[in-house]
């Protein structure tokens, strides 16, 4: 029972123990965690959706609150995974030395970082599901095709968790993450069509937006939730996947460099 045989038979599943460890911790604190994950997006949905929506009226041929609901799902997926990849991952990397403990077992940092990224995607999936449920209860979701939002939220979350892990790999403290939020996450939130459509914005803004992974998620999720036909599916998915497959190996390399000098 050395454990050697077991772990060699499941090479492609080596990330799973990390994921399961995080899931077990999450389950213990699920109440407050869920509240944090979906409380804020719901406040936006109600506050902006119904409050601001009263003055805005129709956007792109739909009620503003309907327009906002799909944006909120994407924004929440991004935020949830980013927090997980920054604050929580940093705690496990630098404060609790959890990763070092995993490393002294036969896990490599590659397994650990992949496990963290997939866990970030899972948390995004959970928060997207919760918001979707509430939105459906409020009659803001058109039909069952909206369930396709869930795998997209998972992919988007894994992508943003990987980006966040790159930032975590060079961070000296929690304070550093404020730069990332101010310089990357918040502009992305405003330039991806979450709160307002971008068609009337200057050409430059629209060009920038075309490079942002969040705007491609919105381009998929909005028609899915409002019962419209989705176009350019592979292209939009491709952009998100591209960010993921670039960010994840960089995160692994940088974290190896940091911990395995």
């Amino acid at each position: 029972m050395s454990g050697l045989e077991d772990c060699q038979t499941q090479i492609w599943l080596r990330w799973l123990p990390i994921w399961r460890r995080n899931a077990r911790v999450w389950r213990k604190l699920a109440g407050p965690a869920l509240l944090g994950n979906i409380g804020e997006p719901l406040l936006y949905l109600f506050g902006l959706g119904y409050g601001l929506g009263f003055f805005v009226g129709q956007v792109n041929g739909m009620d503003y609150v309907v327009f906002l609901a799909s944006g909120t799902v994407c924004a929440s997926a991004m935020n949830t995974a980013s927090f997980e990849g920054l604050y929580s991952a940093y705690t496990r990397m630098a404060v609790q030395d959890t990763w070092l403990g995993m490393f002294t077992a036969p896990l490599d940092l590659g397994d650990i970082v992949v496990g963290e990224a997939i866990w970030g995607g899972t948390k995004s999936l959970i928060s997207a599901a919760a918001i979707l449920l509430v939105a459906a209860g409020l009659g803001l979701v058109a039909d069952w095709q909206a369930l396709w939002v869930l795998p997209i939220a998972f992919l988007l979350g894994t992508c943003f968790a990987s980006l966040a892990l790159v930032v975590t790999s060079v961070s000296k403290s929690y304070d550093f993450f404020l730069y990332y939020f101010t310089l990357v996450i918040t502009p992305m939130l405003l330039l991806s069509g979450v709160f307002f459509p971008l068609e009337q914005m200057p050409e430059l803004i629209q060009q920038i937006s075309a490079y942002l992974p969040l705007s491609h998620a919105v381009a998929l999720v909005r028609p899915l939730m409002t019962g419209q036909a989705v176009s350019d599916i592979l292209f939009h998915l491709g952009v998100i996947i591209l960010y993921l497959v670039i960010a994840l190996p960089i995160a692994i390399r940088m974290i190896k460099k940091r911990l395995l000098s």
Binding site: T9, Q10, V25, T104
Partner: protein
């Protein structure tokens, strides 16, 4: 298959920013031995342990652990290794048993496979009554014992401990020593670093003293003492110390060291000095056998390492 030497390092070298932290280090550790790596702060002990685990890649030299080439095959090797790190890194979100089950899962071991093992380890670490306790409610000694139990979850062939009793009170330290000796009697190979000479002297079969990345002495505790220092030590202090020293002159006929208000004599034959001291007023003295600390201080010097 019996492996004779479980760890073999040849000419290991590691340099950080032009500072040579480990310098052409040779180590041979036979199976079943308790091996102590001693040295002042910054001597390269932790870097050496990191190299053994495959966490730090040596710049040059050869390293084999359990016949695996390190760092190339470090993952396979770590499956058969137990590690007690310098800082406890138990999972604060889990209870005692949850910590053990979770750690087992990192080895690919599932619940049913380790259920009995965990019961045994709880008993071994004397933590049965704490099985459902949260980590932050455990004392420092209990946390250390749990870290030790956790390191044994995979029935390792080698146990590596980085300063296992630093920061523990004497009672807690005694229990850890007892547990380590128990493992030693079962034939476990143990590699530990420590600052405590008493710990090394009690536990280790073989000791290597390193300083500035080089091995400067090695052998059993007894060999090290016999080969490096005189068997008797007399420490003298008191109000009349200055007067007595002047009176005797510098011809003390023995190797001695001045440490602030105390003079330490290292002697082959202690009787003449003891006779003399007994007759003196205003002088206190302590006669003791030479120990590993005397060796350590003699060969690494007394200046502070920070």
């Amino acid at each position: 298959m019996q492996i004779n030497n479980v760890i073999e390092a040849k000419q290991l070298t590691k340099t950080y920013d032009e500072k040579c932290v480990v310098n052409k280090l040779d180590l041979t550790i036979p199976a079943g031995q308790c091996f102590g790596l001693l040295g002042p702060n910054g001597a390269g002990k932790t870097t050496t342990l990191r190299m053994l685990l495959g966490m730090t890649t040596p710049d040059s030299g050869e390293l084999q652990v359990l016949q695996y080439s390190i760092p190339l095959q470090a993952r396979q090797m770590r499956a058969q290794l137990g590690v007690v790190p310098q800082m406890d890194n138990l999972d604060p979100d889990f209870t005692v048993t949850e910590n053990l089950y979770t750690y087992a899962s990192y080895f690919g071991l599932c619940r049913s496979q380790v259920k009995d093992r965990i019961e045994y380890l709880l008993e071994f670490a004397n933590l049965q009554s704490k099985r459902h306790a949260r980590i932050d409610t455990l004392s420092g000694g209990m946390q250390r014992r749990l870290t030790l139990a956790r390191a044994l979850i995979n029935q390792p062939k080698i146990l590596i401990l980085d300063e296992p009793t630093t920061g523990l009170d004497p009672q807690a330290r005694q229990i850890i020593w007892q547990r380590l000796r128990h493992l030693q009697n079962d034939g476990m190979t143990i590699v530990l670093t420590t600052h405590y000479m008493e710990e090394a002297q009690r536990l280790c079969d073989q000791i290597a003293i390193v300083d500035q990345g080089r091995m400067i002495a090695s052998g059993s505790p007894k060999e090290l003492i016999d080969n490096n220092v005189e068997p008797h030590v007399v420490e003298v202090h008191g109000t009349e110390l200055e007067h007595w020293l002047t009176e005797r002159g510098e011809h003390l006929g023995a190797r001695c060291e001045r440490l602030m208000e105390t003079v330490i004599f290292y002697l082959q034959d202690e009787q003449p000095l003891l006779q003399e001291l007994m007759a003196k007023k205003g002088l206190e003295y302590l006669h003791r056998p030479a120990n590993l600390e005397d060796v350590f201080l003699k060969i690494t010097g007394r200046e502070l390492r920070e």
